[in-house]
């Protein structure tokens, strides 16, 4: 179901996926997120991802994570990889309980590209000099606004698109 929703639209995927958090307390989710990172996410990071981040840092490039994941799940990852800045989604809580909805603006598809434009303008960065990496076709707008886009272990549609646009395709496994 998640795959079908994601194939159709990342926004629909978010609507479906985050509904599962409805009713969960904020402190419990924060506690579980640390466990999630230690037990699941950490081991799933491809070895090449460390190299890529490390090499970028050595080259003096700023590391910015632009993700549609929710804040408490990505914070351990951000600390682990040492990103300089980030933007992510936030669950809506009412009386300490998740409503299953995301607080706007929702980071997905074109919103990511829009945020990056604003960020670059604010920070005085030239997007033509920036690099962007993604594995998902839903990030096509985000990849399209930078001068150096790259597909990383991409899904089928992004791989084809990257081939058509002659973008680098990285395998970080």
């Amino acid at each position: 179901m998640f795959m079908a929703a994601d194939t159709y639209s990342r926004r629909m995927f978010n609507d479906v996926f985050f509904r599962y958090y409805k009713g969960e307390s904020e402190d419990r989710l924060r506690y579980l997120s640390e466990e999630l990172f230690e037990n699941v996410l950490k081991d799933a990071i491809f070895p090449g991802a460390y190299e890529l981040v490390d090499k970028s840092k050595r080259l003096g490039l700023r590391q910015v994570l632009v993700t549609g994941a929710i804040d408490f799940t990505v914070m351990p990852l951000i600390r682990h990889l040492g990103f300089d800045h980030h933007v992510c989604n936030h669950l809506e809580f009412v009386d300490g309980r998740a409503t299953g909805r995301l607080r706007p603006p929702v980071m997905a598809a074109a919103t990511k590209a829009s945020w990056m434009r604003t960020y670059a303008e604010k920070e005085g960065l030239n997007l033509s000099d920036c690099f962007a990496y993604s594995d998902s076709m839903s990030d096509l707008p985000m990849l399209s606004v930078v001068g150096h886009p790259a597909a990383v272990n991409p899904d089928f549609r992004l791989r084809n698109t990257a081939m058509q646009h002659d973008w680098p395709i990285l395998d970080l496994r």
């Binding site: 190299e51 490390d54 690099f131 990285l170 970080l172």
Partner: protein, 548 residues
């Protein structure tokens, strides 16, 4: 068809048919006359059959030198009777750390029939090391900034037995971008930085196993280039060094070689190296395809049938299938010399053998030189000969296949036959795509490209990652390919590519295009005059010229 004119220096023969003696400068030089058969030449993955103007000088490769009957014995003899150093067995002791470095897949071309000579040598080395109690042994592919070889390619190169025992922990590719994998050995008095693979530097002995396909290979280049990083390589892979190399196939007159030797001296003072060099003959094709190396006037009926059958089959195949077919025909090279010991002493011997195999004496330069560009270069084994590689074949390798003077007169016309398709391999040549589409429309000036963009590409994290984890050439590699054609670019007045399937690729490279070789020759005449001296280099296999 251009009018066939007979230059005064070519004696006009009576128009009798049948085998008659032709005027020859050397056994490999043939002049086209009115009775001559059309010539066969490569155009990428196709074979063209073209009538050349009367008086055209066709330069064929020398026949293959006789291969050594027992390569294993020759290798053992070389190890036991080295030049300028102790025999290998005398340098070994239990517990020592040894690294064997081998040339990568760019040598030889095409990859040779198995067992590859590197397999023969490394098997002997491993036996010897084992017998002397040396078990800390790593085998490194000295790929420099070339793409990593794949597992199957590495298995093919050294054989299943070594592959199974050593890959991937003790048999692997050099990684010039490993932050902990390189050691700075120093700088030359010309400020050239020498960084070399850490494992090799920290070994008690480095054994280098080389294949010297052309005279620019081997010597100090093996370690100093094969195991270096970007910072070291850019010291000599740059436009001015290439322009000052006359040619880079002639080590004595090559600035590239001079710089590498300077850096090699630093390597040698910091490392203990035992160099093994080999020379192969030029038996590129087996019996089925050997007609491609023959003088077309001497074709038998069988040769003609084979040619027509091959052309018919190729005409029915899609380009990808043709490419796969050609890349799967191994060369039948045989070992003709093996020497071991001190780097320079060994290299001098092997270079002599290279020249003996390749050099053809010719008299005088030509106004027009014709070269068929085949499907392969050192940088596209199992891949596509993309436009930048067509450029490097024409203005780089073919132009530099000389000693003394270039075959082409200064300002003359170089005619290449190739479809010039706008195709790139995304896995092997990602940075080439950006170089070709983004940079060449802005400038073809090698100095500007180097100053403005080379570092940007070299430091691009995507390209670095694709080099390190994928099978991509380093981000800076397309620049080196462009510089590689620099002395050709400075010398040649015009390049015409005959049979180019599009106009934009030749235009991007700064070349003219023609539909056919006949049209290209007519265009060339309008550039150099109506009665030009024309030469055709009939390769593959490799042929080089010593121009009087």
């Amino acid at each position: 068809m251009p009018k066939r004119t007979v230059p005064a220096k070519v004696p006009v023969r009576t128009a009798t048919r049948g085998p008659t003696p032709r005027k020859k400068e050397d056994d490999q030089v043939v002049y086209i006359d009115t009775n001559s058969a059309p010539r066969v030449m490569f155009s990428g993955e196709d074979l063209l059959v073209e009538d050349l103007p009367v008086g055209t000088r066709v330069i064929y490769p020398k026949p293959p030198l006789e291969g050594l009957a027992n390569p294993g014995a020759a290798v053992r003899y070389a190890l036991n009777h080295p030049l300028g150093t102790d025999p290998l067995y005398a340098q070994l002791y239990p517990g020592m750390r040894v690294t064997i470095a081998v040339d990568d897949i760019s040598l030889p071309l095409p990859p040779m029939v198995t067992p590859d000579i590197r397999q023969t040598i490394v098997e002997i080395l491993l036996e010897l090391l084992d017998a002397n109690g040396v078990d800390d042994v790593h085998i490194i592919v000295a790929n420099s900034l070339h793409r990593r070889m794949t597992g199957p390619e590495m298995k093919r190169m050294l054989g299943r037995k070594i592959f199974d025992a050593y890959y991937p922990d003790r048999y692997y590719n050099h990684d010039a971008e490993d932050p902990d994998g390189m050691v700075h050995l120093g700088k030359t008095n010309h400020n050239e930085v020498v960084n070399i693979n850490r494992r090799a530097v920290e070994s008690d002995l480095l054994i280098y196993v080389n294949i010297n396909l052309v005279p620019m290979d081997g010597g100090h280049k093996s370690v100093t280039v094969g195991l270096c990083d970007y910072e070291s390589l850019r010291a000599h892979h740059e436009p001015h060094t290439i322009r000052q190399s006359d040619s880079y196939m002639d080590p004595a007159k090559s600035m590239l070689n001079k710089k590498v030797e300077r850096m090699g001296a630093i390597v040698q003072s910091n490392m203990k190296i035992f160099h093994i060099e080999t020379a192969l003959n030029n038996r590129m094709f087996g019996p089925q395809m050997s007609f491609l190396t023959k003088n077309e006037d001497d074709f038998t009926e069988t040769d003609r049938l084979k040619l027509e059958a091959t052309r018919w089959a190729l005409s029915k195949m899609p380009s990808g299938a043709k490419r796969t077919l050609f890349h799967n025909i191994p060369a039948q090279y045989e070992l003709v010399a093996c020497h071991a010991g001190e780097t320079q002493a060994v290299h001098s011997k092997i270079i002599e053998k290279n020249f003996e195999q390749y050099m053809v004496n010719v008299r005088g330069q030509s106004d027009i030189v014709i070269c068929g560009v085949p499907f392969i270069s050192p940088y596209n084994v199992n891949s596509i000969l993309n436009p930048l590689l067509v450029q490097v074949m024409g203005l780089g390798y073919f132009h530099n296949f000389y000693r003394g003077k270039p075959l082409l007169k200064k300002g003359g016309v170089l005619i290449l036959t190739h479809p010039c398709y706008d195709k790139f391999d995304h896995k092997h040549h990602p940075s080439y795509i950006e170089f070709f589409n983004r940079l060449l429309p802005e400038t073809r000036d090698a100095d500007v490209l180097r100053a403005k963009y080379e570092e940007e590409f070299a430091r691009n994290p995507s390209y670095i990652e694709m080099y390190r984890r994928g099978n991509a050439y380093h981000g800076a590699h397309p620049f080196f390919m462009w510089y590689w054609g620099e002395n050709g670019r400075q010398h040649v007045g015009k390049v015409i590519v005959a049979g180019a399937e599009n106009a934009h690729v030749p235009a991007m490279l700064g070349w003219d295009r023609a539909d056919s070789l006949t049209e290209a020759i007519a265009m060339a005449r309008s550039h150099v005059g109506p009665n030009p001296d024309i030469s055709m280099l009939h390769h593959p296999p490799i042929v080089m010229v010593d121009v009087e």
